[in-house]
Each structure stands twice: as C-alpha cells, then as structure tokens.
C-alpha cells in the first residue's frame, strides 16, 4: 500500500513540476535573469507551493503518526554552520549555470532526451564525492 501511494504522490509532485514549467531549465534560468529576459513565473510556483504546504502541514502534523510509517521524521538539526552556507552557495552556482535542481530534473528524465540523464549522472557522482569527503572530514575530526 505504501509503495502505491508513494508512486501516486511522486506523480502528483512530478505533474506539479511539469505543469508549472519548472521542468524546463530555460524557464528557470529566465527567472534568475532579473536584468535580462526575466520570467517571474517561478515566484508564483514557489509562493503557491509554499502556501499549500504550510497549510497542509498544519493539518497533517496534528496527527500522532503518518498513515504508512511509525512516526514523523522531521529534520532536527538547527545549527546554521559553514557546511549549510557553503553547500547552498555551491548548489546555487550549479543551478544558475544550467537551471536544473533535483526536483526539476527527475521528471525531465521522462521526456526522452539524453541531457537530463547526463545531468543526473553527474549529480550522483557529485553526491558520492560529497558523502566521501564528509566521512573523511568526520574521521579527521574524530581522530
């Protein structure tokens, strides 16, 4: 049951990305291009997604537990550190270069073009490098 609902949820989320135009990296880049061919659409996407999520979370999080899992897993870290800021800045450079964020590129895999797959392959290599580096850093600190 959980798998079926996960599939349906992914479809709803992916349709949101597709309908909103976030599946198109050129449109995302035009949102960032405030001094050029600015397309403010993404601000409307973010605002409506944020509002819906904020209201929905209020209704859902009063429940003792989610439907198909034992408990809620909310991020517990609260520290604003160099990793968060540097990581977000590196992500911003990558997003600004090509217009793809992870949420935008996953549905684009279903379009039948090669480019999104190339991007995702590189993204996974980047994740693997970062995970390895983080583990080494943690070991160095512990030693």
């Amino acid at each position: 049951m959980r798998i079926v609902w996960a599939l349906i949820t992914g479809l709803v989320f992916g349709l949101g990305i597709t309908v909103s135009g976030m599946i198109n990296p050129s449109k995302v880049l035009n949102f960032f291009d405030v001094a050029g061919t600015w397309d403010p659409s993404l601000a409307f996407v973010m605002a409506s997604a944020l509002l819906t999520t904020a209201v929905g979370y209020r209704l859902v999080l009063v429940r003792p537990a989610p439907l198909f899992h034992a408990k809620f897993h909310l991020p517990k870290t609260t520290r604003i550190d160099r990793q968060l800021i540097a990581g977000s800045a590196i992500y911003g450079v990558g997003w600004g270069l090509i217009g793809y964020c992870p949420g935008g590129v996953v549905p684009a895999l279903g379009l039948g073009h090669t480019e999104p797959w190339v991007f995702v392959a590189a993204l996974l290599v980047g994740m693997a490098i970062a995970r390895f580096t983080r583990n080494q850093l943690a070991k160095a600190v512990a030693a």
Partner: protein, 142 residues
C-alpha cells in the same frame, strides 16, 4: 525568452504543495527531492528503498501523463552544452549534500515549517543562482 505563465505556475505550484503534504501524511517526511534521490541510490535497506524508488518512478512518469491529458508535450529547452550540464550536475550534487537540501526540501518544505536553516539556505542558493546568471549572461556574455 520564455513566456510569463502565472496560471500554470499557480496550478503547478499548488500540485507541488499537495505532493509535499502527501509525502508528510503518508510517509512522515519532508519532500526533499535531493534527499529522496540520494536515499534511493545510496540506500541502507530494501525497506527504505522501495517507497523512494516508487516516488521517483511516479515523478518520471509525470511528463507522459501530462502529454496524454493535454495532448501536447511539456515545453523543454536545454540551455547549455553537455560539458556545462556535467559541471553543473557535479556542483549541484556536492552542494545539496553539504547544504542538506534543494529547492524542494529547503525552499518549499523547510520554509513552510519556518526552519531557520532552510530560510538561510534558500536565501543563499537563490541569491547565488541570480548572481551566477548575471555573471554568465551579462558580464562574460552567453
């Protein structure tokens, strides 16, 4: 040049929000796509892998469903070369791992929870993305 599409943006954004709320209601998690993807690929257990793979499969099926319902393919134009895709992909992969989230995890779910970390992260990546496009398109010329 892409057209300003406020109605599609609000309909799509609302669907993204509904999807994020469904993830919380069904699975008890924030809908950070970088986290779901990373967990699916670097999974620690089969039990944890299944829902992630199903969620991603649903996302990948979305353009086909969109085309089937509307009768036209979603607008799509790759803005750079393969080399730029690879370089940007590496940066995004490294960045979201250290930054612990992307536009969906921090920008939607995190802001909806008023998480201070997400507010800082979203401010940083949006500002840097705007600055990157400015440098790329207007200073060095695209």
């Amino acid at each position: 040049m892409t057209e300003f599409t406020p109605v599609a943006a609000v309909v799509g954004g609302t669907l993204i929000g509904i999807g994020a709320v469904m993830v919380m209601l069904f699975l008890g998690r924030v809908a950070g796509i970088s986290g779901i993807l990373s967990g699916a690929v670097f999974a620690s257990s089969w039990d944890d892998w299944g829902w992630r793979a199903a969620f991603l499969a649903g996302m990948i099926a979305a353009p086909a469903v969109f085309t089937w319902v509307t009768g036209q393919a979603p607008e799509f134009m790759m803005p750079g070369t393969t080399a730029v895709s690879i370089f940007a992909g590496l940066l995004v992969g490294i960045g979201v791992t250290f930054g612990a989230g992307c536009a969906s995890g921090h920008g939607v779910c995190g802001l909806a929870r008023l998480s201070p970390r997400s507010i800082v992260a979203t401010g940083v990546f949006m500002f840097v993305a705007v600055a990157t496009v400015f440098v790329n398109r207007h200073l060095i010329g695209g």
